[in-house]
Amino acid sequence: MGLEEKLPSGVLLTTVEGVAGYMRKASFWPATFGLACCAIEMMTTGGPKYDLARFGMEVFRASPRQADLMIVAGRVSQKMAPVLRQIYDQMPEPKWVLAMGVCASSGGMFNNYAVVQGVDHIVPVDMYLPGCPPRPEMLIDAILKLHDQVQHTKLGVNRLDEIEADEATALAAVPTSQMKGLLR
């Protein structure tokens, strides 16, 4: 039935969304945003043993303009926060943020005057990666999960609808502080 049967061999059909998602995820370039200890693990992930190149991601872009993903690897200090935001603003859409390590995710063990308690105070975060520091395998896992998200991101008006739906769910969700059952 339909078009599929009339195709010559060697031709596949897919959706524009599927192709766009595939393209985006298959050349997903991170911006170098190494801050602290986590940055060393991030560099290790790009190194020979863990080899991020397997996922088309070994080119850490020095210029935010060429990057799709910002891996915030390390603790963000109050002094660094405006810089971080500026770099985020310089990245072209669509862009993603991965908060690597507990410091970037929530401030971690440094609950004090100097450290921003979670980079989500400054930029929207798509993926949180716990660990102090997360192992390279964990970073790769987070990146693959993000790839999956990217692959299934909708386009155009569908994307707008998706954003709206996401927002509605997020607004309806119970805030963590109101969840019951202590620390479980």
Partner: protein, 445 residues
């Protein structure tokens, strides 16, 4: 067409025109400068720049390609670790300070522990096995730290192969760390009184294999770099700083030894039994970046020598204690991985929960309250891969540090940036900084 939100902008100030450039908008600057007939540009490099060795901000005044003035802006990684330590027990402090200079965690722990042990007056009671394990871990750490220095330094000048092989070898060291301490980085393993755990089974063999492998691989670095004309052209005579300059600016570590002065605290003021090991202090006499690189390369050989001696000594110390005997200070348990995969100490739990009420009270007091350290202050510096690293530990007699201040070699050495790079080319600034090997976690703490 809508305006490009990322385009270079230009605004006039009393100090002259300011251009905000992100990425490759150099055309607008070039055009702007051509109008003004002014060759002098102030370039702000960093804090997010791939070649500044971390979140370091450089403010360079350039005339053409020559740097006329260079200043550093730091503090972009200030974490408040010193203040945070004041609200934790003495033992918990180790967990914080290990995250300062994240490339040499064992050294941070070591100098802090030495200070606390000095105040507790138990420096002479540390068991021999703990001392040897500390030396072993520190020397392995020195190798991994120097590897990262050479790797990132290579990357910054465009030698990507040096980077990939540097990280390849570092992985081997990290595997050893994981085997011994359970963690790849940020170990919190050296504690006041000794070390946290005994050596795991089979670790000595792994280390022996590692040493054998490194002996094959280290010459690769020498072959690749030592006589490489490009490498030498970039490094020789760059970032020059002589002995007088080093002492005035407080530089220690490889930059000081590159002036030919063999000052190494491991030899001059031995701690943790360094006087019992056979090794040489590496020096070079060119006082430039190339000399610092060669010193790091040679120091890795010396570290391997010390590691071998440690392994030999550890082989004869099977089952010896790794913590002071004083139960008021020593952590009560040795952790082990249980059948549930969790790292608990099952024997100890059985003891305190089933057999001894006093044991339970003691455990509770030591873990929640910690021990008290007599009032006073101590400063016991050690030779970290970057130079003299010391912790000024102040106690008021309480269960928490009153104040801990780290004299970090990266912080002090970085002051030499101006002297090393002014009058040179822009590209040499990168080399000069890489040769100091500052770790911003240590600089900003």
């Amino acid at each position: 067409m809508t305006a490009d939100p990322y385009a270079a902008t230009e605004s006039a100030t009393t100090e002259g025109k300011v251009y905000t450039v992100t990425g490759q908008d150099w055309d607008s600057i070039v055009a702007g400068i051509a109008e003004d007939h002014d060759d002098k540009v102030v370039v702000n490099m960093g804090p997010q720049h791939p070649s500044t060795h971390g979140v370091l901000r450089l403010i360079l005044e350039l005339e053409g390609e020559t740097v006329t003035e260079a200043r550093c802006g730091i503090g972009y990684l200030h974490t408040g670790i010193e203040k945070n330590m004041e609200f934790r027990t003495w033992v918990q402090g180790v967990t914080f300070c290990t995250r300062m200079d994240y490339l040499s965690p064992f050294f941070n722990e070591m100098t802090y522990s030495l200070g606390v042990e000095g105040l507790l007056d138990i420096s002479t009671d540390i068991p021999e096995k703990a001392q040897v394990m500390r030396v072993l871990l520190m020397e392995l750490n020195r190798i991994s730290s120097h590897l990262v220095c050479i790797a990132t330094g290579g990357m910054e000048i465009g030698a990507l192969t040096v980077m990939t092989i540097g990280f390849r070898e570092r992985e081997l060291v990290l595997d050893l760390f994981e085997l011994i301490t359970g963690l790849r980085m940020n170990h919190a393993f050296i504690r006041p009184g000794g070390v946290a755990q005994d050596m795991p089974a089979g670790a000595l063999d792994e280390i022996r294999d590692f040493v054998a492998l490194m002996k094959k691989r280290l010459p690769e670095y020498a072959d690749l770099c030592n006589a490489n004309p490009i490498f030498k052209a970039r490094l020789v005579d760059v970032g020059h700083l002589d002995l007088a300059g080093c002492l005035a600016l407080g530089l220690t570590g490889p930059p000081l030894r590159a002036t030919g002065y063999g000052w190494d605290l491991r030899k001059m003021q031995p701690y943790s039994g360094y006087e019992d090991y056979d090794f040489e202090v590496c020096t070079w006499d060119t006082a430039d970046s190339y000399g610092r690189f060669r010193i790091r390369l040679n120091e890795m050989w010396e570290s391997l020598k010390i590691v071998e001696q440690c392994v030999e000594r550890l082989a004869g110390l099977e089952g010896a204690p790794v913590m002071v005997a004083d139960k008021k200070i020593a952590w009560p348990s040795q952790l082990a991985i249980g059948s549930d995969g969790m790292g608990n100490s099952l024997d100890h739990i059985k003891h305190i929960m089933g057999e001894s009420m006093e044991g339970l009270i003691h455990h509770f007091k030591l873990v929640t309250e910690g021990f008290r350290v007599p009032a006073g202050q101590a400063y016991v510096p050690i030779e970290s891969p970057r130079g003299e690293l010391g912790a000024h530990v102040v106690s008021d007699g309480g269960t928490r540090p009153y104040r801990v201040h780290f004299r970090d070699p990266s912080f002090t050495n970085l002051q030499a940036t101006s002297v090393m790079s002014e009058g040179g080319m822009v590209a040499d600034v990168i080399v000069a900084i890489a040769s100091i090997d500052p770790v911003m976690g240590g600089v900003d703490r």
